[in-house]
């Protein structure tokens, strides 16, 4: 393995010295060409990725610079040490896609998916190439904490296999939630659904202790309609500017500046995030074409990004209610260092809640509030790695205080971040961490196996209902 890494370093060193943006232009273009993408399309994707990397670093610089003085004053006036700036998912995706290891993990997972299909271990073809960055992030985090590439790759494959199995398990529930026929091939391999097993534990407890709360379910679409633009990205930025400004005793002019800066940065993060999608689109199509050629017409489920379920209003109603809850939890949660900002609309949290509870909105909110600390702690845990990687990529503003860090408050896969931490440290040979890592991985697998059994029972009921309806 070290020979491979040394060889890779020898090949990549001149590229790395060019800086992240030119390096990823070249690497992405070459890999797209390897999947038989036309040169012009492959190059277009590479250039877009380089532009996105450059743009995101500029916006991060604007946001963190604007908030630096206010956050220092905030700490002084409140005594609350929330030194990690929450950038939301788009900058984190940018930073992760800026690492060549992400493309390596992508290649590995394409191979794993094809092998699972050929061995009939799954019916899902994962075409959501862009979101491989969630899994790659886990691998990068494990390496940051001490794992070598081999150990990190094994961890990525282990979680990746469970993720693909989960997409098969969830398929009938998606059909139910979308009122779609069984022939609909839509499912998802998205990382945020790896919270399902833990949510299902809470859901079963809910079944026993609080089933009466379900009668308080309300019309989620109606709530969303009433909230209107007040729950939009720019509105969230305005609130945060006012919140920080007031608690840090800023003047009216400064509070306006903070609010408008946060608002336009949150809007720009999403806009620049869309450039990433465009950047990896030629590669995504190339990989899908490659997989389709190898499958020779076999009918498959198609693993997409999570948002095809976003039409269910409960996702947004729960996210809107959870946003202020998360802010309050962040202020009092021991060990948390993140002030929710970019990730405060908890898209990494609510889709899994919807799938497990099947839209019981009160359960979604209660269980969501209970699991949010996991996300805040995982975001805090990841902050040093994100900050260091951003600095390496030149995506971190110069002149910020040394203690300032960046991360994401509701990033998908919080439990997997803790696994990465334990596995990374265990790789350094510390016996305590080896023990913790083994126990954690065993618990993670066992709870998934239990969850899979519950989902198979649920899916049998769906199948029986469909058969009964067909017999009528």
């Amino acid at each position: 393995m070290s020979g491979i890494i040394d060889f890779a370093n020898a090949v990549f060193k001149p590229l790395i010295d060019l800086g992240a943006a030119p390096m990823m232009l070249i690497v992405l273009t070459l890999i797209a060409l390897a999947f038989r993408v036309k040169l012009s399309k492959a190059l277009e994707g590479g250039i877009k990725l380089a532009i996105a990397l450059t743009a995101i670093s500029a916006v991060i610089g604007l946001l963190t610079s604007a908030f630096q003085d206010a956050l220092n004053a905030f700490v002084k006036s409140t005594g609350i040490q929330l030194s990690v700036t929450d950038l939301g998912w788009a900058p984190l995706a940018t930073i992760t896609w800026g690492s060549p290891y992400t493309l390596f993990f992508l290649l590995i997972m394409v191979i794993v998916n094809v092998v699972m299909i050929v061995m009939n271990k799954t019916n899902t073809l994962d075409v959501d190439i862009f979101d491989i960055w969630h899994l790659a992030f886990v691998g990068l985090l494990a390496m940051f904490f001490g794992a070598n590439l081999l150990i990190a790759t094994i961890l990525v494959i282990f979680i990746g296999i469970l993720k693909i199995i989960n997409s098969d398990l969830m398929k009938p529930t998606f059909n139910d939630l979308l009122h779609a026929p069984a022939s609909n091939p839509m499912t998802t391999t998205h990382m945020n659904y790896m919270m399902n097993p833990i949510i299902m534990v809470f859901d079963k407890i809910f079944d026993v202790i609080f089933p009466w709360l379900d009668k308080f379910d309300f019309d989620a679409a109606d709530l969303n309609k009433k909230i209107g633009f007040w729950g939009s990205k720019f509105a969230i930025g305005i609130y945060l500017g006012i919140f920080i400004g007031l608690l840090s005793h800023q003047g009216v002019k400064e509070i306006f500046t903070l609010s408008f800066t946060a608002a336009f940065c949150l809007e720009l993060f999403s806009l620049i995030g869309s450039w990433f999608i465009a950047a990896v689109e030629p590669l995504s199509q190339g990989i899908t074409d490659f997989a389709n050629r190898k499958l020779k017409g076999r009918t498959m489920n198609v693993g997409l990004d999570w948002p095809f379920i976003a039409g269910r209003a409960e996702i947004w109603a729960a996210a809107n209610v959870l946003a202020p809850i998360m802010l309050l939890e962040a202020l009092v949660l021991p060990g948390n260092k993140i002030l929710p900002l970019g990730g405060i609309i908890a898209m990494g949290v609510t889709p899994a809640l919807l799938v497990v509870t099947r839209g019981k909105i009160v359960r979604m909110i209660v269980i969501g509030a209970l699991e949010l600390p996991l996300f805040l702690w995982a975001g805090t845990l990841s902050a040093p790695m994100v900050t260091e990687t951003a600095k390496k990529l030149g995506a971190f503003p110069k002149g910020l205080a040394s203690g300032t860090m960046i991360s994401h408050s509701t990033m998908e896969g919080p439990v997997e971040k803790f696994l990465a931490y334990l596995v990374g440290n265990a790789s350094k040979g510390q016996i305590t961490f080896v023990l913790y890592a083994v126990l954690a991985l065993a618990a993670y697998l066992l709870i998934f196996v239990w969850y899979a059994r519950q989902m198979k029972k649920r899916n049998k009921i769906y199948a029986d209902e469909a058969a009964a309806a067909a017999a009528k």
């Binding site: 075409v127 779609a180 679409a221 999570w306 379920i309 609309i345």
Partner: protein, 101 residues
């Protein structure tokens, strides 16, 4: 100019794939189309009035009835031409029906 509103969860990934695919394909078919991509949660009745067609990623509960025609555009994301074509055909038909062709 025929205006389409595409929507998905984050308003970034899937909806932008739908936007790019519709603009490219409708342009190839000879129509002047502009498509915007937004988050599902940001859609309001007022916003919808500015568009001729709504193309969500899947059936969407907005809390109000859409006055404009709706075409579920999710199959575009399967990246298989045979699955995307029916969506393009429905969009083309909607353009023709609008009289803005």
């Amino acid at each position: 100019m025929y205006k389409i509103l595409a929507a998905c969860g984050a308003g970034v990934n899937s909806s932008h794939q739908i936007k790019d695919a519709l603009e490219t394909e409708m342009s190839n078919r000879g129509y002047d189309v502009q498509c915007d991509a937004v988050m599902v949660k940001d859609i309001t009745e007022d916003m919808m009035k500015h568009y001729d067609l709504f193309t969500p990623i899947a059936a969407t509960d907005l809390g109000f009835e859409s006055d404009v025609p709706v075409v579920d555009a999710g199959p575009i994301l399967y990246r298989m031409p045979a699955m995307a074509k029916p969506v393009y055909d429905q969009v083309e038909q909607a353009i023709k029906d609008s009289g803005k062709a």
